[in-house]
């Protein structure tokens, strides 16, 4: 399906995450959908913009790598340059990964385009949706501020201290002398002399752009992933909340009558998950008749309130047919919504799992080297600041997605507890079997795995942190 033919229709997750998407597009990722005007010329222009970013990133990365090879004689320089190269490997990997697997990302963003709905639970749904929106915005602000702060800190620390490196003294083999190198953000090899004058300023601006955009690339994609997880968690909260009114619905007396207009709202044309109302209308003609004659008795159903019209009526388990159908429709809504959330989480795992695996592999090597570098800190100086900066940034990146992965695990395993803690003993047989099936299905928590190799949770973060501290302690002892 070519981008030009896609109608620009903002709904579901795309609408919620529009600021994220716009920022991602501005930073140069290959996200070419979601534009109002996708004609040939504009599309090519945008593609060219992304490719230009890619070329610049790869050029600078290549320059770092060449510098690494040239300076491999000195162990300290080798370690420092390897850390820099690995750090920017994250960013390049995420950039290329997104370009290659963008179809999966589009699929995940489109998964929530047609959620089902039930008149009894609309209010709760909207409340949690608003909550999710608020949290996603907050996360985006935090990420943007943090990225800008890191870029500014990096730039400012370049202008502190000496800009030198050690090379072998050409006169005396065993001595090293200090030689001036250009005062730049990252050590790179350039075919021109970047010591001073115009070339120096151009290189400096290029490097500032490079650092800022690389950090943005990596962090924005991570925040997209975490926003998805926030959304999934809020949906699970919604499901937990409506369990109670659902049980009460099944236990309530048969004199309850909802406003018929709510129940028979027209469904949208293209439904991925068919709305309940469509089959209601199709299969239950007699029901329509029954409700419309009872309209004078009906009030608005407030979620959670047990409406007791008093006098007569059958007991909790002897529901009338229409009551049963209503309960069953509510159960169907719950089950379909839950399956939808599971589909969303699976899509998130498919889209981002491999990126997380690559991130963890690179981070592990980088953190090991950082632990080694940290043992050489002699005082509060530029070296200490840069090592600690790298360390904090790397750990913060890992913490970022571990904490949201952990929240998903916690939320999904608490669904079972919520199912148990509602008043199921008052409900009908059908409702009790429903609770049983839900408890059984939700015993195993939903989690995101790094391409099946490991699970994203705070345990992972703790093990990474533990490993770094252990290496550091061991290396300090070995000194």
């Amino acid at each position: 399906m070519s981008p030009q033919m896609m109608k620009f229709k903002v709904s579901g997750l795309v609408a919620d995450l529009m600021p994220n998407i716009r920022l991602i597009q501005t930073s140069g990722h290959f996200m070419l959908h979601y534009h109002a005007d996708n004609s040939g010329a504009l599309h090519t222009l945008r593609l060219g913009y992304c490719c230009a970013h890619l070329v610049f990133m790869l050029l600078q990365y290549g320059s770092n790598f060449v510098n690494l090879i040239f300076e491999r004689g000195d162990v300290n320089d080798l370690a420092a340059n390897t850390i820099t190269v690995l750090f920017f490997t994250h960013c390049i990997t995420k950039f290329v990964y997104f370009a290659v697997r963008s179809k999966l990302f589009y699929r995940t963003l489109g998964i929530w385009n047609q959620p089902n709905s039930h008149p009894l639970f609309v209010e709760s749904n909207n409340r949690y949706h608003a909550l999710a929106l608020k949290k996603m915005r907050q996360l985006l602000y935090i990420i943007v501020i943090w990225t800008s702060f890191s870029a500014i800190a990096w730039t400012s620390i370049t202008f502190v201290g000496d800009s030198v490196h050690n090379i072998k003294d050409p006169d005396n083999e065993n001595e090293t002398i200090t030689e001036e190198i250009p005062r730049l953000l990252v050590k790179g090899w350039y075919p021109w002399n970047a010591m001073s004058g115009m070339p120096y300023y151009i290189t400096l601006i290029f490097q500032i752009y490079y650092v800022f955009f690389s950090l943005a690339h990596a962090n924005l994609l991570d925040s997209l992933f975490c926003s998805w997880l926030i959304f999934a968690c809020e949906q699970l909260q919604h499901l937990k909340e409506i369990m109670k009114p659902l049980m009460e619905l099944s236990a309530s007396l048969d004199t309850y009558v909802p406003k018929s207009a709510d129940l028979f709202r027209a469904p949208s044309a293209t439904s991925q998950d068919n709305l309940i109302e469509s089959d209601y209308n199709a299969k239950n003609e007699e029901l329509k008749g029954v409700y419309s004659t009872r309209q004078e008795l009906g009030g608005h159903f407030r979620g959670g309130a047990l409406q007791n019209f008093g006098g007569g009526g059958v007991g909790p388990n002897g529901l009338t047919k229409k009551q049963e159908l209503m309960v069953r429709s509510a159960i169907k809504y719950w089950v379909e919504r839950h399956k939808h959330v599971v589909r969303l989480v699976t899509a998130i795992g498919d889209a981002y799992g491999v990126a997380l695996l690559l991130h963890m592999l690179t981070s592990t090597i980088m953190l090991t080297l950082l632990a080694y570098q940290a043992t050489k800190i002699t005082g509060v100086d530029k070296y200490a600041a840069t090592v600690l900066g790298y360390l904090l940034f790397a750990l913060a990146q890992v913490f970022h997605f571990c904490i949201f992965g952990n929240r998903l695990i916690e939320e999904s395993s608490s669904v079972m507890e919520a199912a148990y803690s509602c008043h199921w003993y008052d409900g009908s047989e059908e409702a009790k079997t429903f609770v049983q099936i839900v408890c059984q299905q939700c015993q195993k928590a939903m989690s995101i795995s790094g391409a099946k190799f490991f699970t994203i949770s705070l345990d992972l973060f703790a093990s990474v942190l533990g490993a770094v501290v252990t290496y550091f302690m061991v290396l300090v002892q070995l000194k």
Binding site: I276, Y280, K332, E430, I437, Q440, K444, F453, F454
Partner: protein, 405 residues
Amino acid sequence: RTEMSPIQEIPPIYFKVHLKMLFYLGIDIIPIENPNLRKLFYVYTIFIIGLMCLFTVLEFLDMVLNFDGIYKMTFALCYFVTHILGSAKMFLMLALRKKLWAHLTKLEGGVFKPNVQRGGVKEFELVRDAIELCKRQGYFFYTFVIFIIGARALWAALANWPYDKNNYFDGNTTVIVNTKIMPYTTWMPFDYNVSPYYELVFAFQIFSTVVYGFYIGAADAVICGFMMLIKAQFLIIKASLERLMERAAGRESANEIQLLEEKAQNFAQKLTSECVFHHQELIALCDQAENDYCYLMLLQFLSSLLIMCFQLFQLSTISPDSVEFFSMSMYLILMLFQLLCYCWHGNEVQIVSGQVSSFAYNINWIITKESVKKSLLLMMMRSQRDCYFTAGKFSLLSLPTFMTV
């Protein structure tokens, strides 16, 4: 046949290719009908296994008698432990061959046979994919083995400059030392510098190593193939669950909320019971297979770990620019690949067995009666406990285990 090809029956012995390979190497997993032929075959088996054991013993003797420092020792140990692993696998396969054949035939018939009425054409596709993957894994391993051994043979044949190993004087006689380079290290009671002997011993070494490589490759392929087939069976359960409601109601009923009619309910009950029976049989087969193979896996794991330690030690002492480094790193990659195969397929079986619960959850159980729901519920409950394969009962075969290695 006028039927379309996907519905064609799958040929009887699923892993014919690898089982035939094992047959040529002396292990008759496919039973031989004729008793006389069988006796003849056993003679052949004893001959081949004897030859392999001889090779391993000679390697051991060389290690012991020509001890030349830890460097040479670890090199010899790499290959020696691999060949010990190969022989142990051979013996274990010989001992287990009847059980293995029983498991494989069980997976091809009865409730496990792909049934187009039950889960549709998908069942055939699933089993076919599993067989294809198993074949490809085996071929990849064989090719890699030939590549590594071929490279080493080439290197040994071309690099025949004098290599002073252990020239020393013992009293007044010069002890004859074999100074020509061999691909691998074995001890020979005669001087093999001379022309016909050199070629003979060279060929013997290459032949034995290739045969070992093929043993290990074929055994791995058969066991991993077995795990792939089990995964395919779990997915067949998924396909049959997906079609359950459709078959019971006679129509597409995914979005209905009215309870089904009485006749449809009874049919749904019957189909669900069949599904549960399939699940039970599969779990029983998994348990049995796990009991039979766990020691083989343990052996594999321990030897892989040991070999990798020696290989890494070797790699850390050779300079990266030499042919030996390349050959040893290729060998390391092969060992990692072998371990990865086991861990990957064990992990897949574990994941898919735990997913049966979601397969059952995803069907439209809302419109069925309580007894059908209860059957589904019990199936979900049982599937919460994964079916896993272990290495000697204490370590799961899974990707996290591979990561720790």
